[in-house]
């Protein structure tokens, strides 16, 4: 069973000629089949956690370990992490002009699977997945994220999630900027992947809204660069009712 183990992770960024510590000792274990929601106020470091795990060059790891099935993730390049089974659905997916979605998906699937998918089954697989996400077939011929609406970008991220079948999926504010219909469609996509039982999901969100569609097993409150409280789904209900104020004002300090 695949497990992602984050131990005492410290991360800094360079901003305005100064080094700023964003993550201040994150501990978290996510196993295949589990869904963890990470909730927290803006600026708490949730997205930094997501991008650091994926290996974004902007972030410097200054301490701690991240292991995927015992392998040192922090030693891997960005593409190696993806091939090892980590997937990050991004909050702000990047435009890649001149590269079509279909070419991108196939290149990516070839890299992740280690061999080119058989054309006939691949075309069918892509078509069916796009249909289930209510994406028009013409989407495949557009350039990656170029001119996509916010909802289209998120659907495109979930399309990749479904096709690439990672061991660990990190969803960084996938719900932000979506209307209710789009949120439902995207959540259904995430749930299809979860139902396989083969993915561990790290759901990063500011709002409890998405948790009506994607039920977490564990809820963690993120504040000041670390997890300050963990619990079951009931913790989300508490946050819904009370907000983050208690955490932001230092009500819980470690």
């Amino acid at each position: 069973m695949a497990t992602l183990e984050i131990r005492d992770l410290h991360v800094t960024v360079e901003a305005d000629n100064a080094t700023k510590e964003i993550l201040k000792g994150v501990d978290l274990t996510v196993s295949q089949g589990e869904t963890h929601a990470i909730m927290g106020p803006n600026g708490s470091g949730k997205s930094t956690l997501a991008y650091s795990l994926a290996g974004h060059p902007k972030y410097t790891i200054t301490g701690g370990t991240v292991l995927l099935d015992g392998e040192d993730v922090l030693e891997m390049s960005v593409d190696e992490r993806a091939r090892a089974g980590l997937f990050l659905a991004m909050q702000y997916p990047v435009e890649v002009p001149g590269v079509s979605v279909s070419n991108f998906l196939r290149t990516s699937a070839t890299a992740i699977r280690g061999e080119a998918p058989k054309l006939r089954t691949w075309v069918k697989e892509v078509k069916e997945t796009m249909e289930s996400l209510h994406m028009d077939p013409s989407f495949a011929e557009r350039n990656v994220n170029e001119g996509f609406s916010g909802g289209e970008k998120k659907r495109h991220e979930i399309l990749q999630l479904e096709l690439l079948k990672p061991k660990i999926a990190i969803l960084d504010e996938t719900d932000s900027g979506l209307d209710v219909d789009a949120l439902r469609i995207v959540s259904e996509g995430v749930n299809r992947v979860r139902e396989s039982g083969e993915v561990g999901t790290l759901l990063i969100t500011h709002y409890t809204r998405i948790l009506r569609y994607i039920k977490p097993d564990h809820v963690h409150v993120f504040a000041g660069g670390r997890i300050v409280e963990s619990g079951g789904p009931e913790l989300a209900d508490k946050l819904e009712a009370e907000g983050y104020e208690a955490y932001v004002k230092g009500g819980v300090s470690a």
Partner: protein, 394 residues
Amino acid sequence: MAEAQNIPVGATTAGSIAVAAESTVATRMSAPPSFDVADFPVPHGREEEWRFTPLERLRGLHDGTAVANGGGVKVTVEAPEGVVVETVGRDDARPGRAGTPVDRVAAQAYSAFEQAGVVTVPKETVLTEPIRIAVHGEGGVAFGHQVIELGAFAEAVVVIDHTGDAVLAANVDYLLGDGAKLTVVSVQDWDEKSVHVAQHNALVGRDASFKSVVVTFGGDVVRLHPRVTYAGTGGDAELFGLYFTDKGQHQEHRLFVDHNAPHCKSNVVYKGALQGDDAHAVWIGDVLIEAKAEGTDTYEMNRNLVLTDGSRVDSVPNLEIETGEIVGAGHASATGRFDDEQLFYLMARGIPEHDARRLVVRGFFAELVQQIGVGDIEERLIAKIEEELEASVA
């Protein structure tokens, strides 16, 4: 996070944005067009039409110190049956008929050439195979003149391939009869020391179609001046260009479309990639719609993909309109960086860095390569782009 910051039209782009000086087609010229080199002062580098060009690297083509030394370049013409291939003297009427030199180097080339090549496709002759003109530098200095003439309703594809080591100044004339269709692919695949300065003059006949594809990879300095004028109504000109500017190279493409007849079309698309220190690409796109050119439809675009720091792009589109009775006129210029966010996104999907870069650059050029319509040239271009990218990764 976006890959391409859009640069306002008329801007000079070098990672930063600067607004280009106000100028018009006429004010760009320091002297009126002329066949006589003596009519042009020796440029000092501050003139509008020379300000981007490293004069000190032109090996004397601009100041009269470059002297033809015989055997500078070797020209070989391969033509299908039905095509007339000639070498003519200065007294022949055809060289210069398509256009007049607009700068000192073109005038120098005209004043100094001894023999011109003339390739004629007789009227109503439709070729199924391309005409291939190989221009191979043999290490010397040369002044050249080439004429390609298509009679009425003739159709041809011409590939002009520049390779080897040379210092070459040349004029190339394209004369299209009424209803003729000419596609010309000019490939600048020079060795790294070569200097090539040339003016291309197309005179597009009534209802004729001219397609020019300019592909520049090699050379130390390449400065080309593709120009189009119309001899009648209904002419159509498509000017496509692709360049890959490497470390230390200067590649300059200065286009001019003179809409001097009614109901003509022009479409200009130039795309370039740059990599390495002091790689410098210059694109000037001048379009003039004269008062009599009612019904004109024109568009021009330049896009640049900057792959590494240290390279520079100057992109200056310029549209001058003397009549409002037109179908359409537009231009665009954009310079984008291949940035780390793009690379991160592709790599985060398992794609290795090398493949990710290749994917983006191939994608950037693909649309243009498909426009060429000459199979072996398309393949060679894709291979050449791959080769350039291999070099950059290594």
